[in-house]
Symmetry: D2
Subunit: 359 residues, 4 copies
Amino acid sequence: MGGNSFGKVFKVTSFGESHGPFIGVTIDGCPAGLKIDEEFLKIKLQQRRPGQSELTSSRDESELFQIISGLYDGISTGTPITILIPNEDNKSNDYDHLKNVYRPSHADYTYEGKYGIRDHKGGGRSSARETAARVAAGSIAQMILKLNEINVYSYTQRIGYVHLTKDYNQLDLTQIYNNKVRCPEVDVVQRMEDFIREIKEQGDTVGGVIETVVTGVPVGLGEPVFDKLHADLGKAILSINACKGFEIGSGFESANMVGSVHNDVFIHDNGVVKTLTNHSGGVQGGISNGMDIVFRAAFKPVSTIQKTQNTINSQNEETSLLIGGRHDPCVIPRAVPIVEAMTALVLCDHLLRNRLCKI
Amino acid sequence: MGGNSFGKVFKVTSFGESHGPFIGVTIDGCPAGLKIDEEFLKIKLQQRRPGQSELTSSRDESELFQIISGLYDGISTGTPITILIPNEDNKSNDYDHLKNVYRPSHADYTYEGKYGIRDHKGGGRSSARETAARVAAGSIAQMILKLNEINVYSYTQRIGYVHLTKDYNQLDLTQIYNNKVRCPEVDVVQRMEDFIREIKEQGDTVGGVIETVVTGVPVGLGEPVFDKLHADLGKAILSINACKGFEIGSGFESANMVGSVHNDVFIHDNGVVKTLTNHSGGVQGGISNGMDIVFRAAFKPVSTIQKTQNTINSQNEETSLLIGGRHDPCVIPRAVPIVEAMTALVLCDHLLRNRLCKI
Amino acid sequence: MGGNSFGKVFKVTSFGESHGPFIGVTIDGCPAGLKIDEEFLKIKLQQRRPGQSELTSSRDESELFQIISGLYDGISTGTPITILIPNEDNKSNDYDHLKNVYRPSHADYTYEGKYGIRDHKGGGRSSARETAARVAAGSIAQMILKLNEINVYSYTQRIGYVHLTKDYNQLDLTQIYNNKVRCPEVDVVQRMEDFIREIKEQGDTVGGVIETVVTGVPVGLGEPVFDKLHADLGKAILSINACKGFEIGSGFESANMVGSVHNDVFIHDNGVVKTLTNHSGGVQGGISNGMDIVFRAAFKPVSTIQKTQNTINSQNEETSLLIGGRHDPCVIPRAVPIVEAMTALVLCDHLLRNRLCKI
Amino acid sequence: MGGNSFGKVFKVTSFGESHGPFIGVTIDGCPAGLKIDEEFLKIKLQQRRPGQSELTSSRDESELFQIISGLYDGISTGTPITILIPNEDNKSNDYDHLKNVYRPSHADYTYEGKYGIRDHKGGGRSSARETAARVAAGSIAQMILKLNEINVYSYTQRIGYVHLTKDYNQLDLTQIYNNKVRCPEVDVVQRMEDFIREIKEQGDTVGGVIETVVTGVPVGLGEPVFDKLHADLGKAILSINACKGFEIGSGFESANMVGSVHNDVFIHDNGVVKTLTNHSGGVQGGISNGMDIVFRAAFKPVSTIQKTQNTINSQNEETSLLIGGRHDPCVIPRAVPIVEAMTALVLCDHLLRNRLCKI
């Protein structure tokens, strides 16, 4: 059972391998009457694209795309929207030396164990190339969220030991994409960039944390028991390549807090119900409470390093390996639009599940 | 759209409110031929039950249960298994003063905003009472896992600032239920108990962390893209009341690690493929790699404290509130079997999805 | 994978065996705020109940029921509604002689082949007793349909060779339940009753056809490709025990028609779009067109006859069998409310899928 | 909620409009290790293709296709298989006169009512062109069925008043595709062809019946309650454009039969359990019993006739219409491979659901 679909009403099915002709995605459940902003979709794909700076992989993907179904004169018709993104600049022979060897902390060994067969070219389906499909679908979801005045802001909160020093309320979230590391705190940007450059020179990679803030969410998104809003967000974000952790609101810090401090007291603020604090991260009992949704996701360092590593091959012999190829020293800057996209998919789906959606 | 079902093959549907006649659960997809160990089910419900020590709520639930369908002579027939757990000791009038007021950091406000109606007695559907259904279903899942030699160990890793000092490999995980706090490190137990008692005396509550180790998992569980094994685990655990964070393997620490340290090198160990380290937490590319699965979940302090709190009522007036009633000063000890149950549900479902299951 | 759930938004899960303590059903997805009319539910269960006349099985089921979740002061809260129906008058020892023998045209042989285990008492899960759960859930669906001014009329169209002589437009559909055979054409009732009595005296059984008319359906229910409205209706009705065929509108007669006769010409009738004829049966391109939905379902004769039959046993030996017990000579009268219930479930689900539902 | 996916394990998602660049389909859940026979896929698409004889539409579709994901060296990898089929010979301007008018018994009116927008070119998504996606997916399903020695035979049973005179046991089912009308009874072929030609000359269209026989089905496919095998087959077949009825085994004739005649007596035939008759059509209690599965589907005459028809336009004015364009006088010959494909999808899905599948 495949697991290549996501969402219950706004349902996304992803397909394609890293070195096949296309990566693609089908959205079944987009309401009719939505004006598709192809320019916005293009910008989002550009933000995810490698080769944008010396801080990311030099693989060049122009991120052309084609919407092959579901529109009539640029308006959604209620039928499935399929978007194809061609794979260009496929240097397949870069991968011949990886055919029979398992790269450490990659999916080579587990895919072969699961399926008995593996597309070794660029990792096949396990490649982060697949996330282009998510960004394409997420951009359609964002078009719907915008009509409902819901805004999603994902940004780099930490790269290795370098992290934001201010709370998001003190930052200008419109600055996120004005720098290579997608960080809204201008004073921290240069230190993050320098740190990635330093790690890259060492042939190594580094992890980080992405924070997301969603504003404008109405009260009532999320379902009481299993499909709690933050549970669905957690699954969505944890399904992104290299993600190792998810926390909402007070997250892991809450383990060391007492209830009298943690509880978010309800107040009236000019006729609007708010909470004095937001340790809940905008979700209580699994349902949005109208406050900003705030969560963080931890990403491990990229597994492909420019150093010789010990491993085993498919004949179960110990061997060593120098991977080569074009890879990111840090996944965080390019993961930012992916986190944003998955967040949009979850919110759009719950909006439609709750029949609260304008359109 | 309800969200009261979980799983794709081993599919669980939960129902019932805190102060209705029953909490219940239906399992659709349990294979035929499974001998149902009712004694094991009873033990698991007992472990979750409040009133077990002075560290937990004094609500007395005897946790009787009745399996009303799906068995023939104690063996599963392949048809839906429904388990009813009667709600006893319901002091409904304890809740009259909560009918029109929103308890801080509870689900009162969000349920009323979502549905326009709310069962205020004991929190209705939002009560942790619902988790009895999960434990009942999880115990059936564990019967299947045992046949496949898969064992799930959940335990208290931290309560407030008191935490384990040893790695799970150095601990005897069979000791978990030999103490009130479900902690496998004997030297830490007393400090945890003392800390909870101290917090309780203050009328306050405290959070904590539960760690889970799963042994015996074959290579190949989990699906490549959206239904990655750790994404499904993350959703399952985050759907438990009061859970605010989930991390697998190196988790949030991975944000500060470099790839050359984080990568898990493959080795042969007497003919078995293993990794030297297990920063992956047993999952690579979303698929189990045969190593132990290791993850942690953060829980916030219980929202019901024995102190007067400011809040608002349903007429939008500011008011204050002293909740009263019988409540846990710390959710962790009782959440341990719930985490265990949700973990078992995910693994059993993926085992059946992969047609790797013995039975 | 069980297959005991039905519907995508108004999702029903059925459980329970013929001779267990309860038959039950859980509805996940009923909107909050619905006033539950328990009297109506009781009437519907009574209509399905055996023992109502000498034309049906003499098994006495009082059809008491208990709604154990999902309501607050008689109003739905948006959480799962579970209804339990106790099994009374279980003469389990009636079935001892059937333990190791396969009744012809029953599910004994296929269940045992599929599961390797079988609850032989009253057919276990394969018993038509399960349909009580469907009627209970369908009655909740009907409460929603009524708010939307949608009415479902199912009735006996044929029993053996005795059939209606008039079109439904010429009949008073409020007369359906005023007779034992659920037939709206008064002049035909007696002949149907006599025919069933005659068949019963012969120890035999007979089949029939049930027709259904749904009025008040808005334009737009049904999805274009796989979830066409009549395809979902077809599945729903064919899933009822003993159903062997389904046709909508012109049905099998359309095979012998030409397009110029079959096509339904659009007209204006006092500002309302209608079609001159309704060969489409109210559905075009899988989507309701605002005309009455009209379909028919064929039911085979009950398999349990009061005659000795040849068969085999579980040791693969040829043997003969006289079943005995209390059984219906004709399933049609009691199947009428079941067809009505399944129809209501499909329409309610599609109404909620389309966000056209009032409530 | 879209409804463009079908199946639970072998899950197919269809996309694309009649006059867009591609029709396509994604299969999520095809097991790894399946050798994909592209030649077989090509043959199946050819069989569905129009323009094969003067009896069908003259639209020329070469039915080229491209498998853009899920294979490695021609073997399935367990990841989604997406097949694109380009739309050629699109005479879009043929449709300008249909932009604001509702063709009788087409989906124009219902689509516009449902979505408020409509792709009028060739019917957009409602076009039978969509069934090319089903045939492509069905051919992959058939590759799996063949490995399990299951064979699906669909064929023309009736065109208007001309029908088979022999039972399928007396016919050579390998002859189906040796004639233009896909009829296995050689003596009837010419009369069917003549009748279609005659109807075509009149500018009219005619309906028919397709019968399907599936051999080699093991005992145990189908689920007891809602997902009965024949209920899922019914939904699959009724979802095909123009289908108005479905019956299995004795079907509508069973309404006029008595139980003592209808019951299928179990016998031993050289160690194999069989039934003397097969009124059940190979399914008892919703589960396959090892006998041939036999069902029939009724198709209405094609709605597009070459005659002037009265109708209304989108301004609600009465008007008349001569459609023109290239259309089939009878859908049956081309629907045969579509029925075969949908049958294969259902059986393959249930085979995988039951973990009985070889591969």
